[in-house]
């Protein structure tokens, strides 16, 4: 089957804020709906001509089991617009984008909005199994004695809640917390505490500079916040101007408290945010006189052992470069998620070290990463990692920065909890 070109008309994201801060009251759909509305309003596309709205989300709020469809409606799109949600952990937003790509490339659809949203502030506390069982018994109990007997089985520890977010960040297969997988890579590849802290500090410095110089203006759309919804949030809440390597060095290791090197400071914070991109076929571009920023060239997802999930980007980048016949030096820009400083540093080592690459069944050394082209405006450590959104947020940031730099190819990649990696290649059209 011959594939058609897939255009990225535009992409926008919310300002990102650490969980519990400025975006804490914004429910997940509202992190995406206004972006979608803006993307469509800014074109000649009528609100009833969008084929599909696809959103990545991992927290799946109980009130919004299908957040994608809710976003389509809240954005003011026609009721007939199909909408659904996808889940691929940290790459949910990228999964949404890849589905948009396939549907347009195959000729099934002409206009799709895809992205991701995550309100980590609003992830719930849940009853544990004992309490849930007790509720079930109570529901079944018919007589008073049955009810009393059920009640008598209650113990105070039944009320110990399960913290959804904590459970979500622990691998169900290998039992390691995400931070512990980063510790493992740091140990195996001898990535020191200082290397990690220096990397993290650099991420903050770049993000602060970008915010100050207005570099994010084209990609961030201010969002209405506050309990009474009466003010705008314009910038990211996260990048720290006063960050120093020394300061970061004083923080205690969080995941291996006795001998570890991974701290809260050199990891990405839990964050709220959303992002969305408008995709169109060549026909739609002509019909609605669209001025796309970029083309989506291809994507690749790849699995690996869950306990070394941080190495996912190696395999995903390897895969997508083989598909597109491009190599590291062809890319003018990279957006690589910084889940942990140790994790992204590990990927860079494996890219250039054939022996390390071989451990993950990659048979070539792709070469040295040019750090001057990686996360030029800071990454997840400073900006945060709203899990469902980051996969598409990276692409939003990538296309706008590529456009500013008049570069050609850009690559976005991230590691995925559970042991996967994802990567997307775009080609800038405004050069």
């Amino acid at each position: 089957m011959s594939m058609k070109d897939v255009y990225i008309v535009d992409g926008k994201r919310t300002p990102q804020a650490k969980a519990g801060l400025d975006l804490k009251d914004v429910q997940a759909p509202y992190l995406g709906a206004y972006l979608v509305k803006h993307l469509i309003d800014n074109t000649e596309i009528p609100t009833d001509m969008v084929d599909e709205v696809i959103f990545g989300n991992t927290g799946t709020p109980a009130k919004y089991p299908n957040v994608g469809r809710v976003i389509a409606l809240e954005a003011g799109l026609h009721k007939k617009t199909s909408g659904y949600s996808v889940h691929r952990n940290c790459a949910s937003g990228m999964e949404a984008v890849s589905q948009a790509y396939l549907k347009i490339a195959s000729g099934r659809s002409d206009i799709i909005v895809a992205g991701g949203v995550e309100s980590m502030s609003q992830m719930p506390l849940m009853y544990n199994k004992e309490m849930t069982d007790l509720f079930a018994k109570l529901m079944k109990a018919k007589s008073v004695t049955e009810k009393l007997s059920a009640m008598s089985s209650f113990r105070p520890n039944f009320l110990t809640p399960i913290i959804a977010i904590e459970q979500g960040l622990t691998d169900p297969f290998c039992g390691l917390n995400m931070g512990q997988t980063a510790e493992l890579l740091a140990r195996e590849l001898k990535i020191t505490r200082e290397m990690q802290d220096t990397y993290a500090n650099n991420s903050h410095a770049k993000a602060v500079a970008a915010t100050k110089s207005g570099r994010f203006k084209d990609e961030i759309l201010p969002i209405t916040i506050g309990g009474s919804l009466n003010k705008l949030l314009v910038d990211d809440v996260g990048p720290r101007e006063n960050s120093t390597v020394e300061g970061l060095g004083k923080m205690k290791p969080y995941f291996d408290k006795k001998s570890g090197t991974v701290t809260v400071g050199n990891s990405c914070p839990i964050t709220d945010g959303g992002s969305a991109l408008l995709f169109a076929s060549e026909e739609a571009v002509k019909k609605y006189n669209l001025k796309p920023i970029a083309k989506l060239v291809d994507y690749h997802f790849h699995g690996l052992e869950p306990e070394r999930m941080g190495m996912g980007p190696l395999l995903a980048m390897d895969g997508v470069m083989r598909r597109t016949k491009l190599s590291l030096s062809d890319f003018d820009l990279f957006e690589l998620n910084e889940a942990f400083a140790a994790q992204i540093l590990a990927v860079s080592i494996a890219l250039k070290d054939k022996e390390v690459a071989a451990r993950f069944n990659v048979d070539i050394a792709w070469g040295e990463l040019d750090w001057s082209r990686v996360n030029v405006n800071g990454g997840g450590i400073a900006l945060g990692h709203p899990v469902g959104s980051t996969g598409s947020r990276l692409i939003v940031s990538l296309i706008h920065e590529l456009k500013k730099r008049k570069g050609r190819y850009g690559l976005a990649s991230l590691c995925i909890g559970g042991g996967q990696g994802g990567a997307v290649v775009v080609e800038n059209l405004i050069r």
Binding site: K37, D41, E44, P222, S228, K231
Partner: protein, 709 residues
């Protein structure tokens, strides 16, 4: 007998009585023909009652059970006895329904008001549909009358005295769920199931009261507490209406004195009160307003020849109090508006305004928390023109400066599609002049809202020489759609309302300078029925704004609009009114009046002048009448009722007076003219110089309303 207005059939021993048969209008009313048929049907029911298991009243009309008596019929009543007689006829029919020995059920879907609810109350059971259109109430008080078909007798017996008084005295309507809660309605069903469920209630005993209800009944249904309730309610009515309105007090008299009476003698009192009120001047004035408001619903401006532009998406330029209010209005109407301003701080002000409007609706349970979030979030606050190509109606509310506004329009026009309507919320600048900034002025007009947008119903649509009729008609229909009252006016200084308001505010300054106290001044206006005196109103408007507008008027109208210097003196001292908490009065953080601003005393003459209340009122209102005459002469609007509607809905001119010009007509224009001439020689030649239009009316022995017919 055959029926044309009401269907009547018996199926399986159940009699079905259906209103709205062959009705082509949107509402069913109890007009004479319907009442006659109803009387005859009720007699037939009595005759056949032994063969029937029950009677069901329903409506053939969607969304309307019965909207009440025919108001044109009430308006045609001229004598007390004739009116009382009409009331008795209705009471008799409804008594006969109440006396039917078989079960009677009213199945209410849609509007059930006034006589419609009174009919339902005479049935043993009321069932209602859960449609959002279903509402039940007795709004007669709003027309200055008492429910005259037994409503004041039966409602307290159905839902208890406190709830009944609340409904009857405020005229408010209840949705089905609320009506069930107070016990007015027995059960609520989807409208499709209403008729099928009704027979299940034929033999149902009323459920026994809960302990709480019994306690409540014990507390309210005895002689002593009822007396106390009436006394309290009377006090609160007097406080709310300042004693200006007769109807609520009369209703209280009837209900209070009828407390221990039987049906016949109670209803005689109700009918007599109806007779008195229905032909009273006050009720006629309120009826006049009702008919004017109904008249407005039909567009009568310049005829359109092309299809009207569709106004789906909106935008507000400028995010101040007005911009925020306009964005709120658009968001509430589902227009997903864009609100644009130059800074994030300004946008936050606008968001604050719309948020507080929606929060009010949330507090009054008009919207749910989800709807609050959805509607407030449907406003996109932004600094650029992105997305404007989807906008169909743009309303500009930036600073009152012709050059800036022209620049804004020239820029905005480049960012919207060809059919987008561009409008200005200017309160004083020339719309004709502004239209020159546009490449396509035919789609431009003034669209003047009054502050605060969510409370003031009036919107002036200001036309100019190049405007398309389609633009005017589309705006007119849009204003109605967002539940406001439109009036089409020609361009001119202050348009309609502010031009008439100007002398009211201006004379206040002159009176203060003459030595009249602020207290006497504001009190005289309040005692006339104005919602606030000129001092308070100036504080609301903003004294600096008033000074600016006064200047525009002076430039446009000449010496008769010579501004008093008093306001500019205040503005110089930075007494700007409510917005900086200091004007004629002092304000607390919440904007509540603390007391008069004593610093003003230095600006006032040492010697105080005691002027009679009537004289102050004449000084304030005569120049308004005079200016209204000038407005009709200039053809700013065509009719007296447009002037009156504008003042009632724009500045809250007392409704019980029926409007400024209706008031003038009722006082006698010869008297008005003589008083003007008197002031013209004793106070100021220019300001009280009678308009030629008024002189002509007096010479031709006609009046404002006669002339404009």
């Amino acid at each position: 007998m055959s029926y044309h207005k009401i269907s009547f059939e018996v199926k399986e021993k159940i009699a079905y009585v259906g209103f709205g048969l062959n009705n082509t209008r949107s509402m069913n009313t109890l007009d004479i023909a319907t009442m006659t048929e109803l009387a005859s049907i009720v007699e037939e029911l009595h005759t056949k009652s032994s063969d029937l298991t029950g009677v069901i009243f329903f409506s053939h009309k969607e969304n309307c059970f019965l909207a009440g008596a025919d108001i044109t019929l009430i308006a045609s009543l001229t004598t007390e006895s004739e009116a009382a007689d009409k009331s008795e006829q209705g009471q008799n029919i409804f008594n006969r329904i109440e006396d039917l020995p078989i079960p009677t059920i009213a199945c209410v879907d849609g509007v059930c008001l006034g006589g419609g609810l009174e009919l339902s109350l005479s049935c043993k059971t009321i069932l209602a549909s859960n449609s959002s259109k279903t509402q039940l109430g007795l709004p007669e008080v709003k027309l200055g009358i008492i429910p005259g078909f037994g409503g004041t007798y039966r409602l307290p017996r159905k839902i208890g005295l406190p709830n009944a008084l609340d409904m009857i005295l405020t005229g408010k309507t209840l949705r089905a769920d609320k009506a069930k809660k107070v016990g007015l309605v027995t059960e609520v069903y989807p409208k499709e199931n209403l008729l099928a469920m009704a027979p299940k209630f034929f033999n149902r005993k009323n459920p026994s009261h809960s302990l709480k209800e019994s306690m409540k009944e014990l507390a309210t249904e005895n002689f002593v507490t009822r007396k106390i309730i009436f006394q309290k309610v009377r006090e609160s009515v007097l406080k709310k209406t300042n004693g200006f309105y007769q109807a609520p007090l009369k209703i209280l008299d009837v209900m209070d004195s009828g407390m221990m009476k039987g049906r016949t003698s109670y209803l005689a009192g109700e009918a007599q009160a109806f007779g008195e009120l229905a032909i009273s001047e006050q009720s006629k004035n309120l009826q006049h307003i009702y008919f004017m408001s109904e008249g407005v619903k039909k567009y009568s401006g310049p005829k359109s020849t092309k299809a009207l532009p569709v106004l789906e998406r909106g935008a507000a330029l400028g995010a101040g109090t007005m911009g925020g209010g306009i964005a709120w209005l658009m968001a509430d109407a589902g227009m997903h508006p864009i609100m644009k301003d130059l800074t994030v701080e300004a946008l936050n002000l606008g968001l604050k305004q719309s948020s507080s409007n929606f929060a009010g609706a949330l507090k009054r349970k008009k919207i749910s928390p989800d709807e609050f979030e959805r509607r407030q979030r449907s406003i996109t606050a932004q600094l650029d023109y992105s997305g404007f190509q989807k906008v169909d109606l743009l309303i500009e509310a930036v600073v009152e400066n012709m050059d800036i506004k022209k620049k804004v329009f020239a820029e905005a026009e480049k960012n919207v599609h060809r059919d987008c309507l561009l409008t200005s919320n200017t309160s004083s600048l020339s719309v004709e002049e502004m239209s020159k900034a546009l490449e396509f002025p035919q789609r431009f007009a003034g669209l003047h809202f009054f502050n605060p947008v969510h409370l003031m119903p009036l919107v002036e649509i200001i036309v100019h020489s190049k405007v398309d009729p389609e633009t005017v008609e589309a705006l007119y229909k849009w204003v109605l759609r967002v539940k406001k009252t439109p009036v089409v006016v020609k361009d001119g200084p202050g348009f309609l309302v502010n031009r008439i308001l100007m002398p009211y505010l201006n004379e206040a300054g002159f009176l203060l300078e003459e030595g009249v106290s602020l207290k006497d001044l504001d009190q005289a206006a309040l005692n006339f029925g104005m919602p606030m005196g000129p001092g308070r109103l100036l504080d609301e408007v903003g004294i600096d704004v008033a000074v600016k507008v006064a200047k525009v008027m002076y430039e446009g109208l000449g010496e008769r609009a010579h501004p008093s210097k008093f306001s500019s003196k205040l503005a110089e001292k930075n007494f700007l009114g409510k917005k900086n908490a200091k004007g004629f009065y002092l304000y607390d953080e919440k904007g509540k009046v603390i007391g008069p601003n004593t610093e003003l005393d230095d600006l006032l003459p040492k010697e105080r002048k005691k002027m009679s209340e009537t004289e102050i009122q004449m000084r304030l209102f005569l120049p308004m009448i005079n200016e209204a005459a000038a407005i009709l002469k200039d053809g700013i609007v065509q009719t007296a009722s447009e002037v009156d509607l504008g003042l009632i809905f724009g500045i809250g001119f007392p409704p019980f007076r029926g409007g400024l010009l209706r008031y003038a007509d009722s006082e006698g224009l010869d008297k008005i003219l003589a008083a003007l001439q008197n002031f013209s020689s004793t106070v100021d030649k220019e300001r009280y110089n009678p308009s030629q239009y008024l002189i002509d009316l007096v010479e031709n022995k006609t009046n404002f309303y006669e002339k404009a017919k």
